[in-house]
């Protein structure tokens, strides 16, 4: 995007300050490679939090292991940098301990769909009121470029020197069939759309899953590159019905199209709602009614 007017650093800094995004940034500098798709996560989450106006101390960002896992350190919110693959159950515990907290989980494709794959169906079906931002670069970046569960067939890496033969997972289809109540896709190369999708995901009451296509510029020179994604990413059809789970699954099966946007949304009771209902049935005082964590 080119502007007819020159951009001065001073003006830009002022603009950033005024935007309020720095309110949620810590003083630590991100440690990702230059050009990494994860920088758009930092921008998107800070913008989205600023839009919601939630207090810093009421946000908890949970991460696992992988490049995305350092994210909480760059934020001025509570953070828990946990174990490989265990972000979702940890986040479930945090949310059930205190419903007032805004809980955001960040992770990559290895953390979520390899080692942590067993937790995703359960957090989706229970509709835990948390937001899951999954940054899919189709590779293990932090261990220097090995094959991942979303790597394409034929992808050559240090652990797949004779090309990857395993069919990649289709995370969107999985989440839709697991019963997730909010499923969307965004692309790190479209930061404004990404930020808006993050805002909507956080605003959703229930489990929201945002799949983010995010190039690894250091270890992937052939597959999920900005160049390739720029060519294949497009918007969902305008007539897509976001309340139709089957239509959403049909869109998710079109793997060449890589459509971004909101695939599916439904309103239904969250896990905390159900547990409060159990408390009421047992004759106790529900956490939310009692106003305590």
């Amino acid at each position: 995007m080119y502007s007819e007017h020159p951009v001065y650093l001073e003006d830009k800094l002022e603009e950033i300050r005024d935007s309020g995004r720095l309110r949620y940034r810590s003083k630590s500098m991100p440690t990702w490679c230059p050009g990494c798709g994860y920088y758009s996560m930092t921008e998107g989450v800070t913008w989205a939090l600023n839009e919601t106006g939630v207090r810093n101390e009421d946000v908890v960002i949970v991460s696992g292991i992988g490049c995305a896992s350092r994210f909480p350190f760059f934020m001025k919110t509570y953070g828990f940098h946990t174990l490989h693959g265990r972000t979702l159950p940890v986040a479930t515990g945090i949310k059930l301990a205190n419903d007032k907290l805004t809980v955001i989980v960040v992770g990559g494709d290895g953390d979520g769909f390899a080692i942590g794959g067993g937790h995703i169906p359960h957090v989706a079906r229970r509709n835990v009121d948390i937001t899951y931002l999954l940054f899919d670069n189709g590779i293990y970046g932090l261990t220097k470029g090995q094959v991942s569960p979303t790597s394409a067939i034929g992808f050559t890496t240090p652990t797949s020197p004779f090309e990857n033969h395993d069919q990649p997972l289709n995370p969107l289809m999985m989440l839709l069939s697991y019963g997730a109540s909010w499923v969307g896709q965004a692309y790190a190369g479209q930061p404004d759309h990404l930020a808006e999708m993050i805002r909507a995901a956080i605003a959703h009451r229930g489990f929201s899953y945002l799949h983010i296509l995010s190039p690894c510029v250091t270890f992937d020179k052939t597959d999920l590159t900005y160049h390739n994604l720029d060519l294949s990413v497009q918007d969902l059809p305008e007539d897509h019905d976001q309340t139709d789970r089957l239509a959403a699954i049909r869109e998710a099966t079109k793997v060449d199209r890589r459509s971004v946007g909101l695939y599916y949304v439904e309103e239904r009771p969250t896990l905390s709602d159900s547990l409060d209902e159990i408390v009421v049935r047992a004759g106790g005082k529900a956490a939310q009614q009692a106003g305590a964590g």
Binding site: V62, T82, A91, G93, I94, H119, G293
Partner: protein, 600 residues
């Protein structure tokens, strides 16, 4: 009537489906209702049906006792094939009650009456006929047998009727009626039978304290401890023998506004527990050996990120799936040392049902006060056995033991992992504006930022270890205790967990034989109360460590820490250790070998 000390152990043995455990349950509840002290432990197969062997053992006393006895006073057989191997447990002049007309054809040699030893007194009873006459069905043989022994020893009939009514209150009235009818038929028959054994049941103790006591299992006591400590969240996955903790909490926690979730596996159970602990809740999970092995990595995160959590581990026979319904003490190593890295944690191992309650409650305090996962190590024998216990009227467990950061300090100066004198840092929880921080499994500096400099790792490792020493002085919990003779003794028993009860009984019997001896229980296995153990070992010429594992895991811990060799007494039979076996070991160690038959 002269009062006698009652100490009678009744074993009821049958096949799964005979109602063995059910009548055992009525027996112990009736006797507890009547004011006796009760310890009871059932043996049952891993299969739900399948004709496996069930044994319901109940020990009824007027004086305090600490374990089951090795010998049975009264054996009731509902299935001779299963009961015959247990005839050897019946003491001289003890009673054996069996069915004169078994339901199935009995092959030659498989009737229990042909297997009794001289001196064991037989009571053949037409259980099936009596059941059919009283109820029109043979299904109440178990109640006839129970009624018979109740009548034979003149046990209080109303207590039994109350227990039967309570047992079947959710069923149709006809069920209660027919069970009562079968019981009464047996009772009348027993009351009119001439008794020629030497089993005596006196009246219950007239102590008012016992009037307030309740009978419960170790797992039920754990649940009560959790509730008294104000548990807020529980995450668990079903596994024998810990499941009943979650089942009871599922009923009780919602009444207190607390939340329980059955997770998809043990990894998520501990993960959610650590998450809830991080967010400031009193959180717990419960599992057995296989589940705890899965939890090891997350235990390490709890240690590293200094998050409070309580983990109940009820041991069963291992390794792998092992023996799910049999008891063992072979998870001491994983409880104390399990997981990678220098991950010291607090491990409490109660020795009786009352201890289950106290350790459960204190575990929440310790987890919060020292900011660390706490393991409460039980075993199947302790989880499932019943004891009559009396709880104090006032709930002793303290809330809000978390060391908080100063409110006036901004987050710029807040050090979540501040290196303090006692190693415990001020801890903020999400929602508190003055304490924003990120906790991490990476080694970190005082602010919680990743840091792998040599000095920092050294200092932080030291902090995480040394802060736990305060647990050794935690108020109002017995972490070790010596019993028996004071000063120098010939033989000392050093025991932990459920086996301590058997060790204590054996020690008291050995003292009766004139052997100077003492027993010490160790409840806190980590950090280990080294000084008192050292003093105790110094007093003992010989030290025996009885435990239900093959290698001697506690013996290794003690001798490895203190450099003192001990006599290992190890059994892996899936059953509690027999008092007689420990007594033999004491005699042997004291140089006073005697024939085993002479054990009274």
């Amino acid at each position: 009537m002269t009062s006698i000390h009652t100490d009678v152990q009744i074993g009821i043995c049958g096949s799964a489906g005979d109602g063995t455990i059910a009548v055992g349950d009525i027996l112990k509840r009736a006797m507890a209702r009547a004011g006796y002290r009760v310890i009871a432990f059932d043996e049952y197969p891993a299969e739900i049906r399948g004709f496996g062997k069930c044994v319901a053992r109940t020990r009824i006393t007027t004086e305090p006792v600490y374990s089951m006895k090795s010998e049975t006073d009264i054996l009731v057989s509902l299935n001779d094939a299963h009961a015959i191997p247990h005839v050897a447990e019946v003491r001289d002049f003890g009673a054996v009650v069996y069915d004169l007309a078994p339901i199935s054809m009995v092959d030659e040699g498989w009737h229990i009456s042909g297997h009794l030893n001289p001196g064991q007194l037989p009571y053949g009873l037409a259980m099936r006929e009596m059941s059919e006459q009283a109820t029109g069905s043979s299904r109440s043989r178990n109640m006839v047998a129970l009624g018979f022994i109740a009548g034979l020893y003149q046990l209080p009939r109303p207590a039994f009727i109350d227990a039967i009514v309570a047992k079947f209150q959710t069923k149709a009235a006809a069920v209660t009626e027919s069970n009562v009818a079968a019981f009464n038929a047996g009772y009348d028959n027993g009351a009119g039978t001439y008794r020629f054994d030497k089993v005596e049941v006196g009246p219950p103790a007239r102590r008012t304290r016992l009037q307030d006591s309740t009978m419960m299992t170790g797992n039920a006591a754990v649940v009560r401890g959790c509730l008294d400590a104000g548990i807020e969240t529980f995450f668990g996955y079903p596994i024998t023998p810990a499941t009943s903790i979650m089942e009871r909490l599922s009923v009780e926690m919602p009444k207190h506004g607390a939340r329980l979730l059955q997770t998809e596996d043990e990894i998520s159970a501990i993960s959610a527990t650590i998450g809830a602990g991080f967010a400031g809740a009193r959180a717990a999970t419960a599992t057995s050996g296989p589940g705890f092995a899965l939890m090891s990595e997350m235990m390490g995160l709890g240690v590293m990120a200094e998050v409070p959590a309580v983990v109940f581990v009820s041991q069963r026979g291992g390794p792998s799936t092992g023996m799910p319904t049999k008891t063992e003490q072979s998870d001491l190593n994983i409880a104390v040392f399990g997981g990678h890295g220098d991950a010291r944690r607090i491990v409490l191992a109660p020795t009786n049902v009352e201890g289950c309650w106290r350790c459960a409650g204190r575990a929440f305090e310790m987890a919060e006060a020292y900011q660390t996962p706490v393991v409460v190590l039980l075993d199947l024998y302790l989880s499932n056995r019943y004891e009559t216990v009396a709880f104090p009227k006032k709930n002793p467990f303290l809330r809000d033991m978390c060391k908080k950061p100063a409110r006036d300090k901004g987050d710029a100066t807040y050090r979540r992992f501040e290196l303090t004198v006692d190693g415990v840092s001020p801890r903020a929880i999400p929602g508190e504006a003055h304490g924003i921080h990120t906790a991490t499994g990476l080694e970190h500096n005082e602010f919680g930022r990743p840091n792998d400099l040599s000095d920092m790792h050294f200092q932080m490792t030291e902090k995480r270890h040394e802060k736990l020493n305060a647990a050794l002085k935690h108020p109002d919990i017995t972490i070790y205790k010596r019993f028996g003779d004071s000063g120098e003794v010939e033989v000392g028993l050093l025991a932990w967990g459920s086996t301590f009860g058997e060790a204590l009984e054996a020690m008291l019997l050995a003292r009766d034989e004139g052997i100077r001896c003492a027993a010490m229980k160790v409840v806190m296995l980590s950090p280990l109360p080294v000084k008192p153990i050292k003093r105790f070992l110094k007093d003992c010429k010989e030290v025996i460590v009885p435990e239900l594992n093959y290698e001697g895991q506690f013996a290794n811990l003690v001798s490895g820490t203190l450099g003192r060799s001990v006599i290992r007494l190890n059994r892996v039979t899936g059953k509690p250790m027999a008092v007689a076996e420990i007594l033999d070991a004491i005699r042997s160690a004291a140089g006073k070998r005697k024939l085993r038959k002479s054990v009274a």
